[in-house]
């Protein structure tokens, strides 16, 4: 049953060094405040899992929290590159970053398999792409993409291994006092991420007495969630539909901050560690 705790407490209790952590939110409801708390608590050796790493993982990678990244699209949406991510991949700074790389369809299906308690998911994808090549036996990474033949039709399809994170971290619009969680708008892959994970942290804009039913909303019952923390604005600079808009100036300004190691270091000191 979900416990309502502070953000610092939730991160301290849920996330350990070396964990596989999935902070999800598909350009909407990105759990930035929780990511900054992970940086503040100086977690190390994390496997960071996320379809669209976005600025949140650029910040975690630059701060030295990550050992490995599992992802499908690592850019600054609508702006350009993630320079901390690129610095780690191209120059090994602040530490080398192992990559496990997929397409969006592959990542989404890997979460579905994890949430379904299955070892893999099947899709029609990857055939002919070099994403297969990354799975070569001597490539280092254990394979996560393999061909599979349909037992009914003989069609050649692709199997992708399940994602089973230690912890899922998401941001939602609301929770009630029992820890039932509700979110709406672009709901992405957050339900699957929470249900695929052993533990979860949900930050919310509001804690209310009762959750009014809302068409199209996803509800995660309290017994599927580990920790809930009240963090208004916890998705900033991404947006929370019904609460706040995307702070596009922040995304644009990040390009220059992320590009420069020293500027990034100052940003960390002034905005996260302080």
């Amino acid at each position: 049953m979900a416990q309502i705790v502070s953000l610092a407490e939730a991160v301290r209790l849920a996330i350990r060094d070396g964990d596989a952590v999935a902070m999800e939110g598909f350009t909407h409801l990105i759990p930035f405040a929780a990511g900054h708390e992970v940086i503040r608590q100086r977690r190390r050796g994390l496997t960071l899992i996320r379809m669209t790493p976005d600025l949140i993982y650029d910040q975690l990678i630059g701060a030295g929290c990550a050992r490995k990244l599992v992802f499908s699209w690592g850019g600054n949406p609508g702006v350009g590159s993630l320079h901390r991510f690129r610095d780690a991949v191209e120059r090994g700074w602040p530490a080398p970053l192992e990559l496990e790389e997929h397409s969006h369809a592959g990542m989404a299906n890997r979460y579905v398999a994890g949430a379904s308690g299955l070892p893999f998911a099947v899709l029609r994808g990857y055939n002919g792409t070099d994403l297969y090549r990354l799975q070569a036996p001597d490539g280092g990474n254990p394979p996560t993409i393999k061909p599979i033949t349909c037992p009914f039709t003989g069609e050649r399809l692709t199997a992708v291994s399940a994602i089973r994170p230690d912890v899922a971290v998401i941001h939602a619009q609301r929770a009630d006092r029992c820890g039932n969680v509700q979110f709406w708008g672009i709901t992405g892959v957050q339900k699957e991420a929470v249900l695929a994970s052993r533990r979860s942290v949900v930050t919310v804009e509001e804690i209310v007495d009762t959750l009014d039913p809302r068409p199209g909303a996803v509800v995660l019952p309290a017994w599927t969630v580990t920790y809930v923390a009240h963090v208004p604005g916890g998705a900033h600079p991404s947006y929370a539909l019904g609460y706040s808009a995307r702070d596009n100036d922040y995304y644009v300004a990040w390009d220059a901050i992320g590009r420069d190691r020293a500027a990034f270091g100052r940003w960390l000191e002034e905005n996260v560690y302080r």
Partner: protein, 265 residues
């Protein structure tokens, strides 16, 4: 817009001035027909698809990988997950559903993609350039939704600026498959869609040769020469017998595009 201003020639002084990027976006928008369903990639494709909807194709159904189906934004979204897409959509679904139920079965007419690097068979690279995968010269964002959009939409249109560095004989990494190594490859790989039908650039339009599937220059914008297009292509570009001269943007197209971009016309 980063590219230079192209001034209308002396014979058409009444035509408004426009940039090469505006010409490219208008040209890409014209490739979409009213009533189509269109899976829209981030960046240039989104601008073109929204322009088509604002001009000749009001019934165009825009589908974004964030799960918004039938989005009708009045201004260009800041990203594929912009709230304006969710608030104006016919339906909003989760990410597994958009790929599994909507894209994978082949119910989308056209996939509209950008690229960092493309080769003469329309294969797209958005992963790494130079060096090798483990220590690339340039690390690009990666696949996103593109591999399955390229595989499963009934057809694909690619929009990107044309340079000798981005138009290469063979891409450094096949992120999304066009025609592979040539005829027969898509069928052999089990790719259900027909593949890329047009590459629309800031110089003109390339289409696959029906026999070889090699992308061939079939259209040029006013004032662009075949020599310029060949110079900005990294392979020995084949040219149609009589490349079409593509009409410049109309005043209405330019006004609609600038309004979408929030720029005063």
């Amino acid at each position: 817009m980063s590219s230079g201003q192209v001034t209308a020639d002396a014979a058409a002084l009444s035509e408004p001035a426009y940039t090469a990027d505006e010409m490219m976006t208008v040209s890409a928008a014209r490739a979409l027909r009213d009533g189509m369903t269109c899976f829209v990639g981030i960046g240039l494709p989104s601008a073109a698809a929204n322009l088509a909807r604002a001009t000749h194709a009001p019934g165009l159904v825009l589908i974004y990988e964030s799960g918004t189906i039938g989005a009708k934004p009045a201004e260009l979204p800041l990203s594929i997950g912009d709230g304006i897409l969710a608030e104006t959509a016919d339906a909003v679904v989760g990410v597994p559903e958009i790929f599994n139920y909507w894209l994978q079965p082949g119910r989308i007419d056209v996939g509209f993609l950008g690229a960092a690097q493309i080769d003469k068979f329309g294969n797209i690279n958005t992963t790494v350039i130079g060096g090798d995968y483990d220590s690339p010269k340039v690390r690009l964002p990666g696949a996103g939704g593109a591999p399955e959009i390229a595989a499963s939409c009934r057809e694909v249109i690619v929009v990107l600026r044309q340079t000798a560095r981005s138009f290469v004989e063979r891409v450094d990494f096949v992120t999304s498959v066009g025609y592979g190594s040539g005829p027969g490859d898509r069928a052999r790989l089990g790719l259900t869609g027909a593949g890329p039908k047009k590459i629309i650039t800031d110089l003109g339009v390339l289409e696959p040769d029906p026999a070889t599937l090699e992308f061939t220059l079939t259209g040029l914008y006013p004032g662009v020469s075949v020599a310029a297009a060949r110079q900005r292509t990294g392979w020995d570009l084949a040219v149609a017998a009589q490349p079409e001269v593509i009409p410049p943007p109309s005043a209405a197209e330019l006004a609609a595009l600038r309004s979408l971009e929030g720029v005063a016309a």
